[in-house]
Amino acid sequence: MTTANNTAKKGGFLAGTANYLDERVGVAGILKTFGRKVFPDHWSFMLGEVALYSFLVLLLSGTFLTFFFQPAMTPVVYDGIYGPLKGAHMSVAYASTIDISFEVRGGLLMRQVHHWAALLFVASAGLHMLRVFFTGAFRKPREINWVVGFALFVLGMGGGFTGYSLPDDLLSGNGLRIIDGMLKGVPVIGSWISSLLFGGEFPGENIVARLYSLHIMLIPALILVFIAIHLFMVVIHKHTHYSGAGKRDDNVVGYPLAPVYVAKAGGFFFIVFGVIMLVAATFTINPVWNYGGYDPSPVSAGTQPDWYIGWLDGALRLTPSHLEFEAGGYTYSMNVLLPMIVGVLFLVVVALYPFIEAWVTGDKREHHVLDRPRNAPTRTAIGAAGVVFYAVLWAGAATDLIATNFKMSLNQVLTTLQISLIVLPVLAYIITKRLALSLQRKDREIVLHGRESGRIVRLPHGEFIEVHEEIDEYTRYKLVDFVNYEPIMARPNARGKITIRGRIRASMSSWFFEDRVTPVTPAELEASHKQGKELH
């Protein structure tokens, strides 16, 4: 009794609390292992954090909104304080959204916080994915975590779309109408899926309540679970780091989580929160009171989805019409099916890319040092082509705005984008691959012959040379630290046959690695130095 009192008094309140917790739940052990987790320092490692923090903001603001939002489509006559809608017929859902905006204290701010945070959540998750892709952070042992992250991105899109549809205004109703049309475009079972979702013919009286259940329960719960798995795997795998002297595949160079990163990350949370609040307080987003309640007859010009669904809307707009045909008594509307197929294929390739690349390279080693994008030219080129493909589809969702704001013909914008969708990714692939290879050659040149110093020297026999300064060891380490993959040959198996699988793999491998620049070996460096000395 007395000893317990003494320890508590000696260290004051903080130490006392720490001691109390340690004796009961073993906090010291957890902190020791967790607090010493090393986290490398680089700005691009914080993009995922932005997504995490905006999700926290989404949870907080979303909870506030659920206190006041009523997900019912019962028709009412508006009698609130917003004049231009007085006496209008609308659904309870829309009326309660208007009430949140105008009659709930802080409601409009919270709506705007929630919506801006949603845009930021998906955007930062996307940028984080690009960082992971272009640095090769998805390689063994992180392939599964890539898939988890991919699932988070898709869930983010789902959460966003269900939220976008809740206010039951004209804009969200137009969006749902497109979903209804796409579902009905599925051959044979389309109309059944649509009536299952909407509880009858569109729009029905159920869809808002159903989307609400998904939006506030299932999707956030799944996102939370996947975030937990995502972060847990980061702890298991340890963080990756960029190449540099002393950075290897069996270590992590950085600062410990506690106290440095706890402070940094904690501070960063408030910065992200602050940016969202600042934007939400000064810029309006989705002013639903302007759009009026949903009515299936009007469709507004300039109707678009939120940005993360934009690429799918763009795919719909860019697909040529009149592509439908009939077979076996069913109509196949390819103008709806084709964009759906392309969209799903694109997502599948993104999800499976780590496995595809692992199979092509045949590399079973663990990788904890990140690639510089130039050192994986084919992957970087594939990534660039993918980004351009996505971007053209994305621009496709804004064809009308591009046409009116840049004074162009809508038809020409559409045709240009249709051609761009096919041509630009190919161009992006070729240009990026050539750029990456050239940069690698430049690196090689620098390692072998040093940097151009700009100092011109005249030799005794009259020749002019530029003095090249040798680079220091740390820089050199960075320039030569990458894996030199070589194309795999198709070899006969135990029964002496070359399988089709083997052939495909060999051809993919030569596609990936036929054009390559090898890292400078110590022998080459030695030879180059010798040669240099003889010359001087």
């Binding site: 490692f45 914080m46 705007q112 940005w307 993360y308 809508l410």
Partner: protein
């Protein structure tokens, strides 16, 4: 005998032609009588001096395209029967006189003094009856904004956007934004259907409907954006760009600052 003659006449091939002609004349003149009754207030509002002045202005400024008698040419339509409302809308918004041929006439600084525009309207409306300038009672924006909003969304939003921010049409044509359009011009546009816009006659949208639409649009124009700066009211595309460029872009700059090595 006479009966038989009549019967034969009914069977003659000319009987059908005569019957169709009679039907057309009756419905046509009936329709003309019905439609002509709407712009009844036209004509008397202008003096003979204005008509003369307008004719001179027309000959020197408009006749090269519209023809000396406003009968129209290959480059421009006939103005006989378009009424004062059409002239006021086209000239007061700067669309006429047109600057260059293209998919659509552009809004530009007004080219005439108000008195001259009125004279032009006087001359054109003297050619044949047509939609007249709106009387002030329809422009007073005393209608029902909520009802006007509903009418606007059903009839106008597919081209002009739900908040009147404008939208694209085919082949470089567009529905202009209504964010700065005056009540009179909205009325005149509805009654005359300039360029690609359909005519909303009084049998289509009654005068009360028109007043409500005008009230709604004026309300949208004068009400400040409630939730902060409105980013042009162009919808999610602009919001998405803003989130990417300014929010995420700003945060990336902050991560660079946080990730920078301290000296």
């Amino acid at each position: 005998m006479a009966m038989k003659k009549l019967k034969n006449a009914r069977r003659s091939p000319w009987a059908a032609v005569a019957a169709i002609a009679a039907g057309l004349i009756i419905t046509g003149s009936g329709y003309a009588a019905a439609t002509a009754s709407t712009p009844a207030e036209a004509g008397s509002a202008y003096t003979a001096d204005q008509v003369d002045a307008g004719h001179k202005l027309f000959l020197s400024n408009c006749a090269s395209c519209h023809g000396k008698n406003a009968e129209g040419t290959a480059n421009a339509p006939s103005l006989i029967g378009v009424g004062a409302a059409s002239v006021l809308f086209q000239v007061e918004t700067g669309r006429m006189p047109g600057q260059a041929s293209g998919p659509q006439l552009q809004v530009k600084p007004v080219q005439f003094k108000q008195a001259d525009i009125d004279s032009l309207a006087a001359w054109v409306s003297s050619l044949a009856p047509g939609p007249a300038a709106p009387s002030a009672e329809y422009l007073a924006t005393k209608g029902n904004a909520s009802r006007g909003g509903e009418i606007f969304r059903i009839n106008c939003a597919m081209c002009h956007n739900a908040v009147g921010a404008g939208g694209a049409l085919t082949g470089g044509k567009y529905a202009p934004p209504l964010t700065h359009t005056s009540a009179a011009h909205i009325y005149e546009a509805m009654i005359t259907g300039p360029q690609n816009m359909p005519v909303f006659s009084n049998s289509n949208l009654s005068l009360k409907d028109k007043t409500d639409v005008i009230t709604y649009l004026q309300e949208v124009q004068t009400n400040p954006s409630i939730g902060g700066y409105d980013l042009g009211n162009l919808g999610p595309v602009v919001e998405g760009l803003f989130a990417w460029i300014f929010m995420l872009g700003g945060l990336v700059l902050i991560t660079m600052w946080l990730g920078a090595k301290s000296n």
